[in-house]
């Protein structure tokens, strides 16, 4: 035991050396990092101050500014590209995008992005994709679609963002077939469908007709970009054996809007055994001002809470018929009555 203790003793001296070296190394790392980052930021500020006015003039079509920008050193290109492209994240004005694309092309930055696309480092590939998508470089749609199969999941998701920004209809089939790709973030899949809107619908309907396994995903997608053309198939899906599919179909109908032909399906879904389906059906009836629908819906104020809330919200939108049902309920006691009173109060407050 004493031998072991003396071994430990010897090793603790070694430990002190390691600890001291590490502590000193970390202090140096903090100092060096701070100096390096401060230097980099100062350089960025200088470059931004120097180039921002030129970029503004260049985007406005000033030939002199463009000529000046074309003479810049190659290692300043990323800063210039950032100045041109970063505002496009929030400003999606087509004219602004076209100006940016024109300037980037004139400055020969596109071949630079091409090189980055082939980089072994994933973040560089992602940066190139964001740039190409942001400026809608439609001649690169193929390369961006190919990036959907990149080995890195961040690059694949960035490619999806880039296609959403690009809005090139050529990429739609590639996007729609990846609707079930779980390696792509669900929200990004939704965002790209939202970006294209109703342009996706026909592809979705064609695929849905032959692919019953993924019906849930198609129903969710139609909830984002569906139009009146999707109503018949959504009504058909309200009879699907899978409750999540029925609920998603009702949710999609709620977003698209219910017409006279689809109304009976929605009313029938109000009696579904699954609460989520009933809730979505109740939500789908918003704005239907006829007395019978309002009366049917009012019965669901006593349903499961999720259904009752949606029924109440729909009744609130049903003008006189809905208000009459809510007023009749509001006089009572309990949670449904309180819910009815809340809807009446909300209605008054919003007016």
């Amino acid at each position: 035991m004493n031998d072991l203790a003396s071994t430990f003793e010897r090793n603790t001296l070694w430990l002190v050396g390691v600890a001291l070296a590490f502590a000193v190394a970390m202090i140096l790392a903090v100092v060096v990092e701070r100096i390096a980052v401060a230097g980099h930021e100062a350089r960025l500020r200088r470059m931004t101050a120097h180039y921002a006015p030129l970029v503004r003039l260049g985007l406005a079509g000033d030939a002199g500014a463009r000529a000046a920008l074309m003479r810049i050193r190659s290692w300043h290109r990323i800063t210039i590209a950032r100045l041109i492209l970063l505002p496009l994240v929030t400003d999606r004005d087509p004219a602004r995008i076209a100006d940016a694309r024109g300037l980037v092309t004139a400055l020969s930055l596109v071949p630079f992005a091409d090189r980055l696309l082939r980089s072994p480092w994933w973040w560089r590939r992602a940066m190139a994709l964001r740039a190409l998508g942001g400026m809608q470089a439609v001649d690169h749609t193929g390369a961006i679609v190919a990036a959907l199969d990149d080995p890195n999941d961040d690059v694949r998701n960035t490619a999806l963002d880039a296609l959403a920004d690009m809005q090139d209809p050529v990429s739609l089939p590639a996007i729609v077939v990846r609707l079930h790709d779980a390696s792509l973030h669900r929200a990004r899949r939704g965002a790209v469908l939202a970006a294209f809107g109703s342009q996706c619908e026909s592809f979705l309907l064609d695929l849905a007709a032959v692919d019953t396994e993924h019906r849930l995903n198609y129903a969710l997608a139609l909830g984002i970009c569906g139009t009146a053309a999707a109503r018949p198939i959504l009504c058909e899906w309200s009879g699907d054996a899978r409750a999540p599919v029925r609920a998603a179909a009702m949710d999609a109908l709620s977003r698209i809007g219910v017409d006279r032909a689809s109304l009976p399906f929605v009313i029938a879904a109000l009696e579904d055994g699954d609460a989520a389906v009933r809730a979505m059906a109740a939500a789908a009836l918003h704005g239907h001002a006829d007395r019978d629908t309002a009366a049917t819906l009012a019965r669901h104020l006593d349903d499961t809470w999720a259904v009752a809330v949606r029924a109440a919200r729909s009744l609130q939108t049903m003008e006189t018929a809905g208000r009459a049902e809510l007023e009749a309920r509001a006089a009572g006691a309990g949670l449904p009555a309180l819910l009815a009173r809340q809807m009446l109060w909300d209605g008054k407050a919003s007016r």
Partner: protein
């Protein structure tokens, strides 16, 4: 066994414990550094814009409990209303305040008593009324009888929340303007996400305007300075390392974004838990893992909010003793998870680590000091060994804290003045010579309190910003 042999054996055990702890810290630093590096690479304006590009961003209910917050409530609510996230509502729970909290809110936000219907799946003290604002439609105020704990108030707020996601904060939490967008991202990216925590930074010394941190600076108090580096170490090493392996065991009570359904499933916050935030996080982990349901609890490694740290001795002592009691209570309650492969990384990695290094840590350290003192009086102490161990302990402690300072500076760049950075580095070194030992002592006091059932919640002296 002679006393010398026993002492040698004890030395071996303590040294092995010390080496294992420091080794684990460096491994965590590596894992956390890699996680942070990847997070930083992914952090760009286009990613943050995703929420705005969605057809229907997730609706978030912000639950803010308020008990005697008359001085700060208006600024707090205004700051919440100004968050850069459109689809949200704010549920303020007036938890039986004895001051003018409700009256001030009524005056400032034109509150009127209004019907607000909601189910009450979570238990809480009786409600007295519900109020809506005529000028801020997103604001709901629930007035209730004081339930004796923050948990009770938060449960009432969760009941009233209509969002799919619920953000639970402390009354004094100051959120970063983009905190919600950042915290919502994991929910958008991974469908298995049930909760998201974030890096809670210390606001002492910072300039605060209307409940927003507008300029970051180091405080004058050394207590607060030590806590800043302590929080950096906690949030940027251990929690990031856990998050990178999907093993988050604690979402701070100051900032936690949850799936409302998940909160309802586990019965919300437990009013009897001293460490209610860790208790809830572990119950979420247990609930999902016991049912073989996928669960992901994410952690945002950048400051999402700011909070005030205690600066006086008494507040510090009561806070640390309470944290200690909370930790031991949670470990005892969730003891079935420790070393149980059914709970994955939580059962086999995170909880055993917490039990060994956080649960036993203060006791082993104190035992070390006691044994050293006894050995000194018995003339059995090898001073050379003792000095070397002490030096190694302080240097390793400083080195690991400096790693977190480095990671913090690299990723957040909050303390921009060179003087502040120098103070951070100095605090990281000095923290190990005195402050850490003080925490060890309070940890032991907290352990005794936990075993004897003594010790209350305590009060924290707040300073006006």
């Amino acid at each position: 066994m002679s006393v010398t042999t026993a002492l040698a054996a004890f030395t071996v055990v303590v040294t092995a414990y010390f080496v294992a702890y420091n080794l684990s810290q460096f491994v965590m630093a590596g894992v956390a550094g890699r996680f942070l590096w990847r997070y930083q690479r992914r952090r760009n304006p286009r990613n943050l814009a995703l929420v705005a590009r969605l057809a229907a961003p997730p609706f978030v209910s912000i639950v803010a409990p308020a008990h005697n917050e008359a001085l700060t409530i208006v600024d707090s609510v205004r700051a919440l209303l100004a968050l850069e996230y459109e689809t949200r509502e704010i549920v303020v729970v007036n938890d039986g305040s004895k001051d003018d909290t409700l009256a001030i809110m009524t005056r400032e936000f034109a509150l009127v008593e209004a019907p607000v219907a909601f189910e009450q799946p979570l238990k809480s003290a009786p409600l007295r009324g519900a109020y809506r604002s005529l000028v801020e439609p997103a604001l709901i105020v629930i007035d209730k009888v004081n339930g004796g704990s923050k948990s009770d108030a938060v449960n009432a707020g969760i009941n009233a929340a209509s969002g799919r996601l619920v953000l639970v904060i402390d009354a004094d939490t100051m959120l970063e303007p983009d905190a919600l967008s950042r915290a919502a991202m994991p929910f958008l990216e991974h469908p298995d996400t049930v909760a998201v925590g974030g890096y809670v930074a210390i606001a002492n010394g910072c300039r605060i305007e209307h409940n927003r941190v507008t300029a970051v600076a180091m405080p004058r108090s050394w207590f607060a300075r030590f806590q800043i580096v302590e929080y950096m170490r906690s949030f940027l090493l251990f929690r990031l390392a856990c998050a990178s392996r999907n093993g988050v065991a604690l979402i701070s009570g100051a900032f936690g974004l949850f799936l409302r359904d998940a909160l309802i499933d586990v019965g919300g916050y437990d009013g009897t838990a001293i460490g209610e935030d860790m208790d809830l996080t572990l119950r979420l982990q247990a609930y999902y893992r016991e049912r073989n349901r996928p669960i992901r609890i994410a952690h945002v490694p950048l400051p999402v909010c700011w909070t005030q740290a205690p600066e006086d001795w008494q507040s510090m002592r009561s806070q640390r003793c309470r944290w200690r009691r909370g930790l031991l209570q949670v470990l005892w309650r969730q003891r079935r998870m420790i070393g149980n492969p059914r709970y994955g990384i939580i059962g086999m990695g995170v909880l055993p680590y917490i039990a060994i290094f956080e649960g036993l840590g203060p006791l082993i350290e104190l035992l070390g000091y006691i044994v050293t003192t006894i050995a000194f009086f018995l003339g059995l102490l090898d001073w050379q060994h003792w000095r070397v161990m002490l030096a190694a302990s302080i240097l390793f402690g400083a080195a690991t804290t400096l790693v977190s300072v480095f990671l913090s500076d690299l990723s957040t760049r909050k303390y921009l003045r060179p003087g502040d950075l120098a103070l951070l580095v100095t605090s990281a070194i000095l923290e190990n010579a005195g402050y850490r030992q003080l925490n060890t002592w309070w940890g032991c006091v907290g352990t005794v309190q936990a075993m004897t059932g003594k010790g209350g919640w305590g009060t924290m002296k707040r300073k006006a910003f």
